[in-house]
Subunit: 322 residues, 4 copies
């Protein structure tokens, strides 16, 4: 093994740069050359590469997003797209590729490995934290702290008014972000993809909280699901039941930027080292994740399995709501 | 003068607590008693008062929102409401009242002063910064830095994608927040109440920027105007013209919370001291603001005049957009 | 079991309030009364208690430090002190006590349990993260992010100058904080209690880095050890070897304040729930920690055992230094 | 005028990059070429220049420090040094130079203008805010907010203990940073270069505060003056008088990094535009500052005059200390 590539694909996540950096440093320490592939699979198909040395990754560890850029590539989902990608990899002389992304990235990578025999190792990065085979994904902790900061700020102003606040966080198919930031922020209610949403039930619980504990404001954390901005609609529905004025915050991509936290940088660094080590050890078609504090490898094809919310956290949420 | 009251009214703003604290300290140093009136004019009408001493305001200077809570009171706009308010003031034995709020607060206060001869002095607090008679209102600097932090975070992720981002900030009738955070963040475009909005024009300028400078992403700062959440609609319209994917962030009440900045705490402190001093000096029916670095008094009835954006800042915005 | 107490002792740590809050909520949900003991063992000896209900802990989850205050109590180390503490516990009618603190707290608590048969359960809170029996202590993540923020800021200015920077973080007998913030910040060197410090060696490695990679500035993270402020002396020694100008930052108690991170609040909440559950289950003389993602109980007497730095992190540090 | 240079000199300050960026943009809009001079006067003497176009300054507005780097140059203080600098300017074909820095920078620049007839315009950037001829210097607001954040964090932990805390901020010859962050943070005492320091007096006032108001902790803000780290000595002296345990934080260069605030970026942008405009208008040997909200020009030779602290702020400090 003489030369490897690295790309970031899917939604960007804070900590990706720490991971890229660790991949480059580990490769160099093992006398491998490293090539950065720009804009994910779309760039791979087009052969958009850039050599990565120490200098290229200097002063990047603290920056959100990804210096390699990213994209979603419908073309890569077709056999023709993957044929072109394989050709690019051969042309660039890559003996393996580190794929930093989510389970969509890994489904594609799995096919590339199977169809073309190209050694690939994945690293899970997703602010939604919805990748099976790792307890935490790169970017989740930073995004959760961003959401928490929003909840804290809203709490300041919530106390000044009698109002209902909706804080919409990311989470397409999973409520990890909503759950952890909600517990940490003492939110009153969660609306997450894992549970069906009933405006009447949420309203009833809120009314009960107001009645029993004399509260005059409440914060509802909403996972955006399939429809960013849905909180405006939800707020409207609940207002009809509850008769309370409400206000909405939509965090959106705010959660993808900002300096990564310690946890995301350390996790990104550890997994970047692990991915290159895995390639050197001859592993292929797997993802390097962290399970119960240790590096664990999962076949790329399995990373899309449903990852459940921590039942203990689900259980304590209502106990701890403000 | 033996005893004064203080209230916060209208939208809450970070730095209000620093102002309340300065009012209390200055009053105590002048051997006045101080009474806090809760929930703005609504609480005043209902006689909801609380004595304020050193202890009551300890450890509040760094907290966003207002410890006295606030509200909007339709009742106070009626002569009957003000009659009840005047009765509360007499009952509480107040020789004067400091009103912390925006121009809506001051219109009401002006009537109270005229109709009932009650000494009132206003202090401008508004994250929109739309009060005439002061260069800056308490809360504006904190809110602007909150918006700037959002733009910085979006910039991180914007560079990772080819996309258009809309950051919706507060600003019902004025674009101060959008303008200052937009300049500081190097935003590409502003959509503000002071200017008519043409999706075609904005799209044309963005397209030109992409063409001339090879940019692949851009940030548009939108003042929420009369309709929070309007950015989703605007994003849709511009996408139709430009064919670019877009994402929306709605900051909403995020901008009212969080620890106030140095500027807002120092301004709040200075104006709180000035308001009590003004009452002691026999001033009435005026607002203590800061104009060109000095304390200036403006009749409450004039604080609703149109306050224009700084033409120099408007001029340099296009020069400095990223 | 009808009534329990909770105290915080030793150095305060961000997230302690989230833990207190979870103790109170869990107790109330199990129909226990809760009594807060102020100022740690010193307050326990003096019987300084305060009833804790829902209202008492409202709006505290986001605040650094501890609402119960803390202290170090030499008296409690004596049999007489513990006799008085046991009397206070009996007088307050407590059937068990949750001790939130570090291993010093737990040594004392262990004696109290043994000598007087009082049910006690500990929860590890220490920004140094030096408690055996838990992977992470409450407060560590917040403190590490505080240190990281400092390193990031220094990096900004370091690039503007040719200089050596020393960032002194906490860590009396252990280098956890220095190690994790150092990896996350891409620091060049670590000076930690686990390793002997040689100015000549550190200087040689720094000089080599400057020579090989053309760097002109570097950041050294120093654990304060037994002597806060020692970095001024260290900087002086290294300057003698290296001839480089240097600057020093001493973070000190900065790391104990500030809003706790998601991780510290969630950990504090989980462990607070676990501690009360443990008391209800009849456990005694143990600490509820988190090991490999799960709740684990360790006898209080063993929590002072040496806890080693993660060898994987130690190994990758030099690989990843900026 | 066809081509101008820009340099940063002296201590770096957050917002310098916003100023560089505004200089470049304004120059380009006026069809001037712009050359960046690296490492201040030291780089000027050595002819270290780099062309600056739109691309060079993209994505720099939010970064602390200065992308052009800075230095202190003893050589430039000699006539020989300035002769070499003048030769570099001629060689680079510069028709004028924008100097971003403090009064030391401007003394040198003034000589360059007088001795060699080179058009120079200064822009004040100094976190100490000690430049005469401008109300605020670039970097001050960011540094003050950094100091305030430290005080807020300390306040969290201070409440948990009975202790005295010393927060050492920058301020070589002036106490602007200490004063504004001290007011905003509700600090109990200030130790600043403008006033002689008596441990006995400070101790007496602190003791009185403890006695009268039942306080158990206090925060003293110390300007570092000529000797960074002096707070350890001061803490020792006061401990001798007061018998209170104390802790020290030394912020140092932390205050030079971090993302600049809105105020520093807007000020940097305005003054950068003003400086280029001044050169185009034929001004020379002056500094473009902001006085009472408007651009004002001051001869470079006068910028070293003593700039006094705002007497109103000095007056309210004791009124408002926590």
């Amino acid at each position: 093994m003489k030369r490897i590539g690295v790309l970031t694909s899917g939604g960007d996540a804070p900590g990706m740069n720490a991971c890229i950096r660790a991949v480059v440093r580990t490769a160099l320490a093992n006398e491998l050359e490293v090539v950065g592939i720009r804009r994910g699979y779309a760039g791979l198909i087009r052969g958009e590469t850039v050599p990565l040395d120490r200098r290229a990754i200097r002063n990047t560890i603290h920056i959100g997003g990804t210096i390699l850029e990213t994209s979603r590539s419908p073309e890569f989902r077709t056999p023709e797209g993957r044929t072109r990608a394989a050709a690019s990899i051969e042309e660039a002389g890559l003996d393996g590729v580190v794929l930093i992304g989510g389970d969509g990235t890994f489904q594609g990578g799995s096919l590339l490995a199977e169809e073309w025999g190209i050694p690939v190792v994945g690293v899970p990065a997703s602010i939604d934290n919805d990748v099976y085979g790792t307890d935490y994904c790169i970017g989740f902790d930073t995004a959760a702290n961003c959401a928490l900061n929003a909840i804290d700020r809203i709490r300041d102003t919530a106390r000044s008014h009698d109002r209902l606040f909706f804080v919409e966080v990311m989470g397409r198919e999973s409520g990890f972000l909503a759950l952890e930031s909600g517990i940490a922020g003492g939110a009153e209610e969660l609306i997450i993809p894992e549970e069906s949403f009933s405006p009447a039930d949420v309203s009833a619980r809120l009314r009960e909280g107001f009645r029993r504990f004399g509260k005059k404001s409440a914060i509802v954390v909403v996972a955006e699901g399939e429809m960013p901005g849905r909180s405006f609609e939800i707020a409207h529905e609940i207002r009809e039941h509850l008769g309370y004025e409400s206000r909405v915050v939509v965090l959106g991509h705010l959660q993808r930027g900002g300096p990564p936290t310690v946890r995301d940088r350390v996790l990104g660094s550890m997994l970047g080292v692990a991915a290159v080590t895995a390639l050197l050890d001859g592993r292929n078609g797997c993802m390097a994740g962290e399970v119960k504090g240790e590096i664990a490898y999962t076949p790329l094809g399995e990373t899309g399995r449903v990852k459940s919310l921590d039942p203990d956290l689900m259980r304590i949420f209502p106990l701890l709501s403000e």
